[in-house]
C-alpha cells in the first residue's frame, strides 16, 4: 500500500513539474487535427511529405546531444544523429517543394 502511494505521488509530481508542457501537448494535438482536417485528397501526398519534414525538428535534440558530447563515441553518435536529422529536414522540405512546384506550373497555364 505505501508503495502505491509513492507511485501515485511520483506520477502527480511528474504531472506538476511538466504541467506547462502537458498543456502544450494537449493543445497541439487538437491543433494538428484542426489544421489539416479539410485537406483535399490531391494534397495528401505533399502534406504527408511536408509533415514528415517538420518532425525533423528532432534535429534540435541531436544538436543538443552533440553539443554536450564528452567522449569520442558520443561525438560520433551525435554526428550520425545530426546527419540523419538533417536528411529528414532538408530532404523532406526539398522533395515537398519539388512536388508542389509541379502543381504551380500547371496553374500558370
Amino acid at each position: 500500500m505505501p508503495y502505491n502511494l509513492e507511485l501515485m505521488e511520483s506520477i502527480l509530481e511528474f504531472i506538476y513539474l511538466h504541467r506547462e508542457i502537458i498543456f502544450i501537448l494537449i493543445l497541439s494535438v487538437f491543433l494538428g487535427v484542426e489544421v489539416i482536417s479539410n485537406v483535399p485528397s490531391v494534397l495528401h501526398t505533399p502534406l504527408m511529405s511536408g509533415a514528415n519534414a517538420i518532425h525533423g525538428v528532432v534535429i534540435i535534440g541531436a544538436i543538443i546531444v552533440m553539443g554536450h558530447a564528452e567522449t569520442t563515441l558520443a561525438l560520433i553518435l551525435g554526428f550520425v544523429a545530426v546527419v540523419l536529422g538533417t536528411l529528414n529536414v532538408v530532404g523532406g522540405f526539398v522533395v515537398t517543394d519539388r512536388m508542389l512546384s509541379m502543381f504551380n506550373k500547371k496553374q500558370k497555364q
Partner: protein, 485 residues
C-alpha cells in the same frame, strides 16, 4: 565586483535564453501556419517554405543561444559539418529521385528522423539526472520519455525501411498468421521491458545499458514484423502512420529537454499524421485496424466460370476507337507510373485534342501509390489541372463517356466493390468505368491487382483488352493515330 559580474552573467544568460524561447515560439507558429497553408492548393508551396524557415530559425538559434547547465553548445564545427553533410546528401537524393519513387523517398526520410530520435534517447539514457534517480529511482518521467522515444523512434526507423523496400520492389509481402502472434508477443515484451526498467529502483543508469540495447533490438524487430505482413498497396497508409510515430518520438525529445519547439513540431505531426492516416483509410473505405491486420488478399473469388470471355483489341483498332470517340476518359493507375508513360499519355491526349476529341482524366483518390500521387505524376507531365476529374465528378459523367481508357489500374475500377458484398474490396468507392459506352483496358497481362481478386470489368461485353507495356502500347497507338491524318 563579483556580484556585478555575476549579475551580468545572469543577465546575459536570460537574454540569450529569452531570444531562444522567442525564436522557438516563432518557429512553432511558422510550423502551424505552414501546415495550414500546406492543406490548401493555392498556398501549399508557400506553406512548405514557411515551415522550412521556421526550422532554419530553430536550428540556428539553438546553435547560438542554447545553454545546458550554463554552458553553450560545444563542437560547433562538427555540428555544422554534420548539418552540411546531411544537407548535401538530402538535397541530392531529393532532387535526383524520380517522381514515381516519391512514396519510397518520403518513407526513407521518415526513417532517418526516427533513427535520429532513437539515437538521442540512447545517448541521453546514461545522463539521467542523478538527483531524480536518488529521489524516485528509475520510476520517473525522464526514464519513461527516453524509453518511449527509443521504442517509437526505432519502430519508425525499421518500419520505414521495410516500407521503403516494399515500395521499391525489393521486399515482397509475407502473409502469415504466425506473424500476427509474433507481433503481439513482441509488443507485450516491449511493455514488459518498460515496466521492468522503471521498477529497478535507484540504480546507476549505465548499468542498465545492456537491457536498453536489448530493448532497442526488440523495438527494431517489432518495426520489421509490424510492416512485413501489410500488403504493398497499403504502404501509403503505413508510411503516414509511421510518419506520425516519428512525430511522437520527436515530441518525446521535447519532453526530455523541456524544448517547446520539438514538442509542438512533433505533436503537431503526430496528430496531423494520425488524421491523415484515417483520411487515407476512408478514401479506401477501410478501417485502420483492417489495414494493419491485413484483410486484403485473403479470399480469392473463384467465380471465373461465369466470368465470360476476354476480348483483345489490336493497336490499330484501339487507335481508331480513340480517334473517333468524341468523349474519352482516361483512368490512370500505378501501372502507368511504373511504365513511365505519363509523357506519352499527354502526347496522345494532345494529338486527340487536335483531332477534336475531348479528353479528361478520372483520378481515384488512391490511384498510384499514395493519395494524390497520381495528380503529382500527371502534373509532372504537364497535363492541365482542369482535365483532371475527381471520382464523383467522373462517375456522374460516365454514361456520356464514349470511351474509357483504363491504363494500368485494376482494383479502382473493379465493379466487385459495388456488387459483391463478400469481396475484400466491398464498399470501396470505385470509378464506374463499366458505365462507359466502350472500355479499353491497357494492362501488362492478366495478373491480379493488389487486392488479389478477379476484375469482372475485364470480362464485360463492352471491354477490350490491350495487353503489353503501357508505354510501348501508347507509342504504337500514337503512331497509328498520326498515320490516320
Amino acid at each position: 565586483m563579483d556580484e556585478v559580474i555575476k549579475a551580468e552573467e545572469l543577465f546575459s544568460f536570460t537574454l540569450g535564453e529569452s531570444i531562444l524561447e522567442i525564436t522557438y515560439i516563432i518557429a512553432s507558429v511558422l510550423f502551424i501556419v505552414g501546415l495550414k497553408k500546406l492543406s490548401h492548393p493555392d498556398t501549399a508551396r508557400r506553406g512548405n517554405i514557411w515551415a522550412a524557415t521556421g526550422m532554419a530559425l530553430a536550428i540556428v538559434s539553438t546553435l547560438v543561444f542554447h545553454k545546458q547547465d550554463g554552458e553553450h553548445i560545444h563542437n560547433i564545427g562538427w555540428i555544422v559539418a554534420a548539418i552540411a553533410t546531411g544537407t548535401l546528401i538530402g538535397t541530392l537524393i531529393a532532387r535526383r529521385v524520380q517522381m514515381t519513387a516519391m512514396p519510397q523517398l518520403v518513407s526513407f526520410f521518415n526513417g532517418m528522423g526516427g533513427a535520429a530520435a532513437a539515437l538521442i534517447s540512447l545517448m541521453e539514457f546514461p545522463h539521467i539526472s542523478p538527483d531524480l534517480i536518488r529521489a524516485h529511482g528509475m520510476f520517473n518521467g525522464q526514464v519513461l520519455v527516453i524509453l518511449l522515444g527509443l521504442m517509437i523512434g526505432s519502430v519508425s526507423f525499421s518500419g520505414s525501411m521495410i516500407a521503403y523496400g516494399k515500395l521499391d520492389g525489393k521486399i515482397s509481402d509475407i502473409r502469415s498468421g504466425l506473424l500476427r502472434i509474433v507481433n503481439m508477443a513482441l509488443l507485450v515484451l516491449l511493455v514488459a521491458f518498460i515496466v521492468y526498467i522503471m521498477s529497478l529502483g535507484a540504480v546507476e543508469p549505465a548499468s542498465v545499458m545492456p537491457l536498453l540495447y536489448a530493448f532497442l533490438a526488440i523495438s527494431l524487430l517489432y518495426g520489421i514484423s509490424f510492416v512485413m505482413p501489410i500488403g504493398g498497396a497499403d504502404m501509403p497508409v503505413v508510411i503516414s502512420l509511421l510518419n506520425s510515430f516519428t512525430g511522437v518520438a520527436a515530441a518525446m525529445g521535447g519532453f526530455l529537454y523541456n524544448n517547446q519547439v520539438m514538442l509542438t513540431g512533433g505533436i503537431l505531426v503526430g496528430s496531423a499524421g494520425t488524421i491523415l492516416t484515417i483520411l487515407m483509410c476512408k478514401a479506401m473505405n477501410r478501417s485502420l485496424s483492417n489495414v494493419i491486420l491485413g484483410a486484403f488478399g485473403g479470399s480469392k473469388a473463384d467465380d471465373s466460370g461465369e466470368a465470360g470471355q476476354i476480348k483483345e483489341i489490336g493497336i490499330s483498332d484501339a487507335a481508331v476507337l480513340l480517334n473517333y470517340s468524341p468523349k474519352v476518359l482516361i483512368i490512370p493507375g500505378y501501372g502507368l507510373a511504373v511504365a513511365q508513360a505519363q509523357m506519352l499519355t499527354r502526347e496522345v491526349d494532345h494529338k486527340l485534342g487536335q483531332n477534336g476529341v475531348e479528353v479528361h482524366y478520372a483520378i481515384h483518390p488512391v490511384a498510384g501509390r499514395m493519395p494524390g500521387h497520381m495528380n503529382v505524376l500527371l502534373a509532372e507531365a504537364d497535363i492541365p489541372y482542369d482535365k483532371l476529374l475527381e471520382s464523383e465528378e467522373a462517375n456522374e459523367q460516365m454514361q456520356d463517356v464514349d470511351l474509357a481508357v483504363v491504363i494500368g489500374a485494376n482494383d479502382v475500377v473493379n465493379p466487385a466493390a459495388e456488387e459483391d458484398p463478400s469481396s475484400p474490396i466491398a464498399g470501396m468507392p470505385i470509378l464506374q468505368a463499366y458505365k462507359a459506352k466502350n472500355i479499353i483496358v491497357m494492362k501488362r497481362g492478366m495478373g491480379l491487382g493488389y487486392a488479389g481478386i478477379e476484375n469482372k470489368l475485364f470480362y464485360n461485353d463492352k471491354t477490350r483488352m490491350l495487353f503489353g507495356n503501357a508505354k510501348e502500347s501508347l507509342q504504337q497507338v500514337l503512331n497509328e493515330i498520326k498515320n490516320m491524318d
